[in-house]
Chain length 213, copies 2
DNA sequence: AACAGACTTAATGTATACACTGGGGCCAAA
DNA sequence: TTTGGCCCCAGTGTATACATTAAGTCTGTT
């Protein structure tokens, strides 16, 4: 694997997992020593991260990890509602029915995944991720899909702010199931509405359980 | 100005203005000689361009200028309708009325700008650009604004494909005026509808006058 | 003649040396 | 003591040399 790719993945992971707190200055030499590569790949990685909005060039004095304020979360969800609502509607029109029927059935069984002792909820998040991928594929619009992928980076970061208790995750699974069901039924307005409902509930939960850093 | 910035601006301009045709291979050494800087800034510029989607890394053999197919144009306008529709609606709710009343009045006088002999339509495009900026500012959502800015790069490129005759530009000015009027009136649904109408007309015009390369 | 494999080479990927710039600290004067 | 200006330097910005990889070609075998 290329060194710049490793540096990018490592830094991105560190930021998303909040191991690098907002405001942290990422000096090129320092990071190159920490990651065991030269400045060039680190520089390229920092450029990509700044383009994504995870870091911010701080005029001559390195790049800093961007903060996520409460207003940012509101803005993020406003854009998310726009994009994912449209995506769900398009998937309902263009998607292949059996795929979403299958996902719907699996999402109805999601509570079983949350009862066991896996603390990282790996299976659950993998299933939700498969729904995202199925929608991405169904919309057959690479620009829209790319915009949503760019958003999801920030959303994973926000998710780490909230306490994902089993109760919320079960409710979220039911909401996801409703989205999959609407898409499988080929009903774009219902799919969009279900997405809107889900995102509003998610946002409320994040804001309610959010612990300021 | 930094060399990487100059290289980026120059390459971007060359691509948008179709001086660099789709499929053109941009070798780092070649471009560094042409632009009079070393490979490092050129490399950074190419990275930024690839992140924006104007170029595409072609696995080991340089980066190539991306093509714009008819499907791409459809996808582009689908996303554009989603984003700009939402933006217009938000601007109608959050924007400052006098700003858009002023823009509305100026847009109604746009035909005067198109009657003179300026072939590049500089004043006209500047006015339309001011409307875009006013909407960007009014929505007060940096993520949405950034997504729209990223889109506009591709749209300028598409615009160069179409024949911008005076008739179409006058009609477009009237459509823009309708959008500004709806925002000034504080009517989000009308603003969104006016945007939808404008974008559909634009797309029809592009597809009708598009000359394949 | 067609295909498989290694070689060639031209490009990218990486490391590092040098240039430049902006900020912080120190010193001096009021 | 405070403030203004200068100096120092840490860090980014650029150039270039070296390593690596992948596409294209050539040759040998089937």
């Amino acid at each position: 694997m290329r060194a710049s790719e490793r540096a990018y993945a490592a830094l991105r992971e560190d930021i998303i997992e909040w191991r690098l707190a907002p405001g942290t200055v990422l000096a090129e030499v320092e990071q190159s020593e920490r990651l065991g590569v030269s400045r060039t790949p680190v520089r390229e990685a920092l450029g990509r991260l700044s383009a994504e909005g995870l870091t911010r060039a701080a005029g001559g004095r390195g790049v800093v990890v961007t903060d996520i304020s409460l207003e940012d979360i509101d803005e993020l969800f406003e854009l998310r509602e726009t994009l994912e609502g449209k995506a769900a509607a398009l998937a309902a029109v263009r998607g292949e029915r059996p795929v979403f029927e299958q996902l719907h059935a699996e999402l109805l069984r999601a509570p079983e995944m949350l009862s066991d002792s896996d603390p990282s909820r790996h299976d659950y998040y993998a299933l939700v991720g498969r729904l995202d991928e199925a929608i991405d594929a169904a919309i057959s619009n690479s620009y829209l899909a790319q915009a949503m992928r760019a958003l999801r980076v920030h959303l994973v970061r926000v998710r780490r702010l909230a306490a994902d208790d089993a109760g919320r995750l079960q409710a979220a699974a039911a909401e996801h199931a409703a989205i999959a069901e609407a898409i499988a039924a080929g009903n774009p307005r219902l799919a969009e509405a279900a997405t809107t409902v889900h995102l509003h509930r998610s946002l409320s939960h994040v804001k309610a359980t959010h612990t300021p850093h």
